[in-house]
Symmetry: C2
């Protein structure tokens, strides 16, 4: 078992990384004081290299600062920053139809609306968490109304807007139930109430993706595998690991030990499948049949799978207290801090090639913002604090 | 100047590569004798790893075998192969609206329709070339009718189907006028006739992308650069080089020496910008402002830019007879043959990382089929034959 001193040192390291490197980067460089919202295309040193505002990232940053305000400390600067993004989104993010845009110009004009449900999900997540920070229950109601729209699209995928033709494979993605389940946790707060059934539906859907030790990114109707299609063989280990710790939290919440056991397996097996034995780091995509993934970036090492794996294995260790899970946490944490973290300008790089060399020098891009890194650092910091307070507690 | 013996040896090498390695791979592994059309997802050894049929690739393969039949030799096997794809496409590729699908199931059911014009373009190209091979002028008329639909979308981009919102930047892509110009050459054949004005329009559009020594992939209205957007700074050297040799052919056709001179510059400057001085090979994407491209695959080395560069520099050398162009042809040819060509199973790999290691082991994928490699080998083989027949001819 790790020494208390090791846990203390790690806690200090995560704390320093979060509060001295990562948050200051976004606090300093992202606010758009002219139009509101945040610049999310930030170069390694914080220079804005594109003014486009991506709604996923705007919303996630609102969520993050609201969450810190609610869970860590009622720091008025955090609330003010959250408000900057929330006001911008409330003004510009929603289309007249109620759907939510994917990207906006710096001054809020709509650029593009995706035929996916994720802009809606992240916007609703931001509304819910910010509603608590700002003590504004109306915004939580807004989030709930948006959730109803999202749920309707979950049940009727044709409403999302992408035409389904005769030959279009009816595939269910891991992402949809995962993100919606996460959203339910945010909206419902402590009282699951009316959302209990919907949460159970999402959990069951996610579990369908876990077949014979592998988490398939896309499955067919009724959980049937579709191994004849490249898409049907696609594995995304980081995504599976993230789903794993979402399920761990739900297993605790629902007091479901069987779900906990399956979540352990999902996390451990996805990590084993995804870890690059030669060069270290987690692959982005794999093909369950051993073919080359058609995604050109399959062998790159991205920041977020490593963030998710840190959280997952620390959570896992906190529950099961097995040395091998702790060792994996240390392995992925060492890889992440030594490869992604930038002590000079703050924040983390996001994209490495297979050998671990930085390929994209920016800290913020169309899909990387103020979210995965601070969320993971905060969660790990909290887990390490719990561990150092209760070194003996493990599985019941 | 290269020795006649060197030219002869190269000609033999290209001939061998085309007729003994590349074409046999597709002749052997791609035909779907059950449903018609071609399998285009072929692993390194020809195994089908996904039955999906991508219309771009189906159409380009029809074009390729028809072209070989028309230009090299009236080999009945080639015509039969072209017919296999043409019949499949005529049965299944067009939607009731007249638009053309992007992908089909093995038995021809529509999977997806892109909101772009390229499926229509490649299908029309296939129709035109096959019409000549099969001596079926009706199919050429079909191609002409499809061209009218395409041209309408070129003039009215909103008809392509992707919503244009208030903040959507009005960007003109290099790809559209390039592909349409290429299509005009295919449809018009020897007599430009009614297409003269449209060709001039496309050429003028392409030339707008060439600003101060760089070919921008996307430009704003009236040729204005949009350097504040990452998209507006995007360079795709292989694409620019391909555009360069298209323009070289048109300069000859239109007897336009000024266009020829600009094409020389486009090719040479795009190659210089795109060549990786450290590791060799052409980068896939660059950012004109020196930022990191947001495309994760920016530093990969893809087969097709190297194919295009071989053609462009050999064409350039044939016209200008400058040693440096010959040397560049040799440089890129050496890189391509030593990195992409697979003498064991035939055809070329398509995707390498920056260091030149194969990252995707397949020979055919959703965007790589029987097209760029054989087209480039055939064109170079022909150019080398011309060179060895008329070693003295250069610029007029």
């Amino acid at each position: 078992m790790p020494e208390p001193r090791e846990i203390q040192q790690l806690k200090a390291q995560f704390e320093h990384e979060l509060f001295e490197s990562v948050l200051p980067f976004w606090e300093r460089h992202s606010p758009d004081r002219e139009h509101g919202g945040y610049f999310n295309h930030l170069d390694y040193d914080g220079v804005v290299y594109d003014p486009t505002k991506n709604v996923w990232l705007q919303a996630r940053q609102v969520w993050l600062f609201s969450k810190l305000y609610n869970a860590v400390e009622q720091n008025p600067n955090w609330l003010e920053l959250a408000k900057l993004g929330m006001d911008f989104l409330r003004k510009y993010a929603a289309a007249p139809t109620g759907r939510v845009y994917f990207s906006l110009t710096a001054d809020g004009q709509p650029i593009y609306q995706q035929r996916k449900i994720f802009s809606e999900c992240f916007y609703a997540m931001a509304l819910a968490e910010y509603a608590r920070a700002a003590a504004n229950p109306k915004l939580l109601q807004e989030a709930c109304r948006l959730f109803d729209l999202i749920w309707d699209m979950v049940l009727h995928p044709s409403k999302v807007g992408r035409p389904i033709l005769e030959g279009t494979p009816r595939l269910q993605s891991l992402a949809a139930p995962m993100i919606v389940l996460n959203l339910i946790a945010e909206i419902a707060g402590d009282d699951l109430g009316q959302y209990r059934e919907q949460a159970a539906f999402c959990i069951a859907q996610i579990e369908q993706h876990f077949v014979e030790g592998k988490v398939y990114e896309l499955i067919g109707p009724k959980g049937r595998l579709v191994p004849e299609l490249a898409q049907g063989r696609l594995l995304n280990p980081g995504h599976a690991i993230e789903a794993g710790w979402f399920l761990l939290e739900w297993a605790a919440r629902l007091n479901d030990p069987a779900l906990q056991t399956r979540s352990f397996e999902i996390i451990r097996q996805s990590y084993t499948a995804g870890w690059d034995q030669e060069q270290g780091g987690l692959f982005y995509f794999l093909d369950a049949g051993g073919f080359s993934p058609t995604q050109l970036e399959w062998d790159m090492k991205l920041w977020w799978p490593h963030c998710e794996a840190m959280v997952a294995f620390l959570m896992l260790y906190s529950l099961a207290r097995e040395r091998s899970d702790w060792d994996t946490f240390i392995e992925v944490k060492e890889y992440a801090f030594s490869h992604f973290s930038d002590s000079e300008h703050g924040e983390w790089f996001g994209y490495l090639n297979r050998r671990g060399e930085v390929t994209q020098r920016f800290k913020g891009g169309p899909y990387k913002g103020c979210f995965h890194v601070p969320r993971a650092l905060w969660l790990c910091w909290r887990l390490l604090a719990d561990l150092s307070n209760s070194p003996e507690t493990g599985l019941p």
